[in-house]
């Protein structure tokens, strides 16, 4: 299908990527490629449309950079997130970006796991002499993990409630949606603040009782064992966001299901005797997944922003955990003299959220067949015009 369009290098790259993925799936499940050729073509078309959308590509690049930083950040960071460099060099106190510090070869340095030598503090340091660059890298990990944990549970509660309410209608719908309204009636942020203020002691207790879970979270957040108590605050933010994050999805999905279930193919499936669960999963969900996916992507940035906001307000991450919102909060008392403590984490939040928003917007255009067709159509026309001019 996509052969009618002129292919640039980027398209060839994305085609090869998709082709490779399809071949991989074919290896895992023999015969997959043959059965899903139409789908692979569709993917290529989507990639083609994405390649023609500069905002989408910028968003994709920002998101990829963020994710890569979050994954490898703790390994490439020059210092740990809580290493007080002022212990070695007085210059490290609120050092502006580019300051060079010297770390002597002492037992204290060995104890803190810092090798001696000269270091350039790329983005400066804070009032404890902690390297801002390292803390921002660790902060990326914190943001990503919190966002993923929230998105793995929160929206799905809403999606499930929306599916059930929308499909069954009647009394079930009424009960579920009034329940949702109760949650919507509270301002989300306030509710989240309340929960994350109340939950930590219980979570600390729970984490102490279950060392395996504690270890799992510690390695996810890339934190030291002695900071498990502070980590409980992050976990409570995650749980608080689960509780406030689903009502929007319940509303959205219910609306989508209400319109999707009126489709004739749903009635045809019912006439065939297809069980309700199956109708919801195979007939309704695939046809409303587009808007949900867009909303999820846009919300990923939203979670990062909310989490940073909570930390900024002092109810999220607690010191010494590296978290963008927390860094801004701690640095704000030295603003504007030590502007870098506010500027760089703020810039990171901005770029990350912008990336998710751009990609979400582009996904909306690409996933909706109508707008995608119009993109393709425009390109086709453009190409034809170009050919005429050449003649």
């Amino acid at each position: 299908m996509s052969e009618i369009y002129e292919k640039k290098l980027l398209d060839k790259f994305s085609d090869a990527l998709i082709e490779g993925f399809a071949k991989f799936l074919d290896k895992v499940r023999p015969g997959w490629y043959k059965k899903n050729k139409a789908r692979v073509d569709e993917w290529k078309l989507m990639a083609y449309a994405l390649n023609r959308s500069p905002p989408g590509l910028i968003g994709l690049a920002l998101v990829i950079v963020f994710i890569v930083l979050a994954i490898v950040g703790p390994y490439i960071a020059p210092f740990n997130y809580d290493t007080p460099l002022t212990a070695f060099d007085r210059d490290a106190y609120l050092a502006p970006p580019g300051t060079v510090i010297t770390i002597p070869n002492t037992t204290a340095a060995k104890f803190l796991g810092v090798r001696s030598g000269n270091y350039t503090l790329l983005l400066g340091s804070d009032d404890y002499g902690r390297d801002l660059f390292s803390r921002i890298l660790y902060g990326a990990r914190t943001s990503l993990i919190v966002a993923i944990m929230v998105m793995l549970v929160g929206p799905w509660i809403g999606i499930l409630i929306g599916l059930v309410a929308g499909y069954y209608g009647g009394k079930i719908d009424e009960i579920l949606m009034r329940f949702t309204d109760i949650f919507l009636a509270f301002p989300g942020l306030i509710l989240a603040i309340a929960f994350s203020a109340v939950l930590p002691p219980r979570i600390q207790y729970f984490l102490n009782a279950n060392p395996a879970v504690r270890q799992f979270f510690l390695s996810l957040f890339s934190l030291k064992v002695q900071h498990a108590g502070s980590m409980a605050y992050l976990v409570s933010v995650i749980i608080a966001l689960w509780i406030v994050w689903w009502p929007g999805y319940a509303r959205l999905v219910r609306g989508l299901v209400l319109s999707a279930r009126e489709n004739l193919y749903v009635e045809a499936a019912r006439a065939l005797g297809v069980p309700t669960r199956w109708i919801l999963l195979r007939h309704i969900t695939p046809n409303i997944i587009g808007p949900i996916l867009v909303y999820l992507t846009l919300d990923f940035g939203g979670v990062i922003l909310t989490e940073a906001g909570l930390s900024f307000l002092g109810v999220g991450a607690v010191p010494p955990i590296a978290d963008w919102g927390r860094i801004i909060n701690d640095g704000s008392q030295y603003f504007p003299n030590s502007w870098w403590l506010v500027f760089y984490p703020g810039l990171m939040i901005l770029l990350t959220v912008l990336g998710f928003n751009l990609i979400g917007d582009t996904l909306r255009d690409i996933l909706d067949p109508k707008t995608r067709r119009s993109i393709e159509f425009k390109l086709k026309k453009k190409k034809q015009k170009g050919e005429k001019n050449e003649v």
Binding site: K35, A38, L264, Y265, G273
Partner: protein
């Protein structure tokens, strides 16, 4: 009508009222189906005709239990389908199927043809050794081939889609199929193909059809029996040829005289029975005979008493005062 065998499908005094909701309470009811009786014998086709909004499709959905009736019974193989539970209901769902009017929206756009046709087999856990071969065989039976297997519905024409919809229900070996205007969304040339396919399948598989349509030519071609519906009630019922040759009810006469004949000579000379006005609202149907406000042969009794459904000739029923005094 009084055959030796029992009918496969029997509908007794079926009613379906849809509530019209006001702000606080129900304002009234749309009497979509108001006391319908008919029987369909195995291997036969009953054509259900009537203008739009007379409740044809509602009847079709009721006899498949896609809607709950307000009152009345529908028997399938002697059992009331509205009382079926569990295993029996599943068995009924398997045996009774429906082909929908609009093939453009009755197929899930996100499922390949293979998935669409294979779905019922999966649901009813029918054992198939080679799913692909099984589906291809079904495709051949409806005049498609294996090259169509892994495509999506939007790649097909209306006629092909209707064939896919038919293949899907054939997978289950049904006994009774409700055809809800299966050809009205198709081109004339394609219509004939689909109708012939349906007739073919009926002969081969001994299928029983309830054929719902407003296209009288098509109904005449397909049906063994005909039931004419007006405003939620059946006004005439009988063997197809007899009803067409000798329509009794004024509404039936008017309906048949409106069949276009592709010959201007005949059309000009032909005597036409015109029915003025529009069908009344089914929320508040006329008293007495429902057809009386539009009937050219209206009598005094018509707006007072509802006529009975009488057997005017053997097997030919009519609901009209013109015939009840005899």
């Amino acid at each position: 009508m009084k055959c030796m065998s029992t009918p496969l499908v029997k509908v007794v005094d079926l009613k379906k009222y849809f509530p019209v909701k006001g702000i606080f309470f129900t304002k009234g009811y749309v009497k979509a189906v108001d006391g319908v009786n008919f029987e369909i014998y195995k291997g036969k086709t009953l054509g259900l005709v009537g203008e739009s909004g007379c409740g044809k499709t509602t009847v079709g959905k009721l006899v498949l239990r896609l809607l709950k009736p307000t009152s009345g019974k529908a028997l399938f193989e002697g059992k009331d389908i509205f009382k079926l539970r569990g295993k029996e209901l599943k068995e009924f769902r398997k045996k009774a199927q429906m082909v929908f009017q609009d093939p453009y929206s009755s197929l899930n756009p996100r499922m390949t043809i293979f998935d669409t046709i294979y779905e019922p087999i999966k649901i009813y856990k029918i054992k198939v050794s080679d799913p692909e071969k099984f589906v291809v065989e079904l495709l051949y039976r409806v005049g498609l081939n294996e090259s169509h297997l892994y495509r999506y519905p939007h790649e097909f024409s209306g006629g092909q889609r209707q064939r896919i919809a038919i293949a899907r229900i054939l997978a289950l070996n049904p006994e009774f199929i409700v055809l809800d205007e299966p050809t009205s969304a198709l081109d004339v040339s394609v219509q004939a193909q689909i109708l012939n396919l349906l007739k073919d399948l009926q002969k081969k598989m001994d299928l029983t059809y309830l054929f719902i349509s407003h296209d009288l030519g098509v109904v005449r071609y397909m049906s063994d029996y005909i039931a004419v519906m007006y405003l939620g009630q059946i006004v005439e019922y009988g063997p197809a040829e007899e009803v067409f040759e000798k329509p009794l009810h004024p509404y039936t006469k008017a309906l048949f005289s409106a069949i276009p004949i592709p010959d201007p000579e005949i059309t000009r000379k032909r005597e036409k029975l015109r029915v003025p006005g529009e069908p009344p609202s089914p929320i508040n149907p006329p008293s007495g005979c429902r057809f009386h406000p539009r009937c050219p042969f209206r009598q005094e009794i018509c707006n007072r008493e509802e006529p009975e459904f009488i057997e005017y000739e053997k097997g030919h029923y009519v609901k009209c005062h013109l015939y009840s005094r005899k």
